[in-house]
């Protein structure tokens, strides 16, 4: 322990150096985002609650009830009952998504051949009642308003590059 160390130790140099760091944080501007007042915009690839896209003109759902998303879902939370319209086009009569089991992995969006189901930027999903987590087809269609902005510009619900 040379003399230099004794002097440094005596003068609390290392402790003062640590305090200088917290001192600078004291004056530097703060990083807190006060959540309910200020919100952060998620990135375009953020995987929030799902949404069912509809054709803008006819308002029909793009989904053709091919059951791909229901089979690929690792936690089996998509339940679809298919049906046929008058002119023979198949569509989902009911499309239920059990958000209580969903792990937000995005596989359903990735495998959908017609880009009907898309992960939106909706992350405020807290509810008091577990039944609200049982998303019905209407809720999913209404959730289109939260679809990522960057996505809308590319016509058919995103071309997979997203």
């Amino acid at each position: 322990m040379g003399l230099k160390d004794i002097v440094k130790k005596g003068a609390f140099v290392d402790i003062l150096r640590g305090m200088s760091v917290t001192g600078t944080y004291f004056v530097v501007d703060k990083v807190t985002v006060e959540y309910p007042k200020e919100k952060i915009q998620p990135y375009p690839r953020f995987r929030g609650a799902q949404a069912l896209l509809t054709y803008p003109d006819t308002g029909e759902v793009k989904c053709v009830a091919c059951m791909l998303c229901a089979t690929v879902c690792p936690s089996r939370c998509i339940h679809i009952e298919g049906g046929e319209t008058s002119e023979g086009r198949s569509y989902p009569v009911t499309f239920d998504l059990d958000l209580a089991h969903c792990v937000f992995c995005g596989l359903c969006e990735e495998v959908c051949p017609v880009a009907a189901i898309v992960m939106t930027r909706e992350y405020e999903l807290a509810t008091f009642d577990k039944n609200d987590l049982w998303l019905t087809k209407e809720w999913l269609i209404a959730n289109q308003k939260n679809v990522h902005k960057e996505l809308l510009g590319r016509g058919v619900g995103g071309d997979g590059e997203r």
Partner: protein, 341 residues
């Protein structure tokens, strides 16, 4: 009105005014501690209650009042209830000897002499040390009576820590007594009259540093907050306390903080004296208030930066480093004072 009755009235006024003032200060210091803790860590701290969150401490108090006050079945109930008050009272009593303005001067209020100290006790410093020792009982009894593993460990640790650091504190304070050759705080402040280079901090640098470190241990603040080390002992001696009873412990800790910063500024930084002669027109209590705030800020700054010592390191530092140093400082001061006359 003859002199003794006036003094009695003044005494009653002071005895009510000073504690109320200290309690108000403590309420805001609790808020400032949370706010400054946030600033030190680069975040904002409480902001919802009141402007910039300033009513946060009142929110805390109401929350604690509404919380259920559990008393563990197997605990030693009378002692369990008594412990918080044993810590709470000594902190308040020390205020009696703390001078916050000129004492024994000419008649300056309604024609009677108004002393700016509640009790001009000529052994004030010894009273401070004695009351510090009583606080140890509160902590040890709290830990012992909660009858739990963690609280027992916390209580014993706190007891051993406070006792070993009181020694170092006692010796370092004697240096100041020698400089002012009196044990009364009023005379110590008199001895430091003049500008800031007359203060005792300059000659007593080693003694002052030791005293500051020892008060950190006395207050159970961060480098030595082993008693309620939440990382290891869940909450040390405070584990079983809840509701307002826990609140009294916290309140006592902060009253202690204010009072000890008052003592530090009185002993080493010239109490209510202004740093420069020319600034004397600002009244005494204001200076003392400013110095207390500066020291409270330094205590908080230390708390949010430095880690915690391990138990045996703490003890070895107390006995093997601080004690010999303070005795050495005492001997040197004694020689200098006796030679310089």
């Amino acid at each position: 009105m003859s002199d003794p009755i006036a003094q009695l009235i003044f005494l009653i006024i002071k005895a009510i005014l000073v504690p109320v003032l200290i309690v108000m200060m403590v309420a805001f210091i609790i808020f400032f501690e949370r706010k400054f803790a946030g600033f030190f860590q680069g975040r904002v701290g409480p902001t919802y209650l009141g402007p910039w969150g300033s009513f946060q401490s009142f929110g805390d108090i109401f929350k604690l009042l509404s919380k259920e006050d559990l008393i563990p079945a197997k605990s030693d109930k009378p002692v369990f209830r008594l412990a918080p008050y044993i810590i709470f009272l000594p902190a308040f009593l020390v205020m009696a000897v703390l001078p916050f303005g000129p004492v024994g001067g000419e008649a300056n209020l309604f024609g009677y002499r108004f002393d700016y100290v509640i009790a001009n006790f000529d052994a004030g410093l010894v009273l401070f040390l004695a009351l510090g020792a009583i606080a140890v009982y509160g902590v040890v009894l709290a830990g012992w009576s909660s009858n739990g593993n963690f609280s027992l460990l916390g209580g014993l640790r706190a007891g051993a820590q406070m006792i070993s650091y009181e020694l170092a504190m006692g010796f370092s304070v004697v240096g100041v007594m020698l400089m002012a050759n009196s044990m009364s705080l009023v005379d110590i402040v008199e001895g430091q009259a003049g500008n800031f280079w007359d203060w005792y901090f300059i000659p007593q640098v080693v003694g002052g540093l030791i005293f500051f470190v020892a008060t950190l241990a006395e207050l159970n603040r961060t480098p030595f907050d082993l008693a309620e080390a939440e990382q290891e002992l869940v909450a040390g001696y405070l584990t079983e306390y809840s509701g307002m009873r826990w609140g009294i412990f916290m309140f006592a800790e902060y009253v202690n903080l204010v009072v000890i910063s008052g003592i530090v500024s009185t002993l080493y930084f010239g109490g209510w004296r202004a740093p420069l002669e020319v600034l004397d027109f600002i009244p005494g209590p204001i200076w003392l208030f400013i110095k207390i705030c500066v020291f409270v800020f330094i205590y908080m700054w230390v708390r949010w930066t430095i880690f915690r010592y391990r138990y045996n390191q703490l003890m070895s530092m107390g006995w093997k480093v601080l004690l010999p140093l303070s005795i050495l400082n005492l001997v040197v001061t004694a020689i200098v004072v006796s030679v310089a006359g």
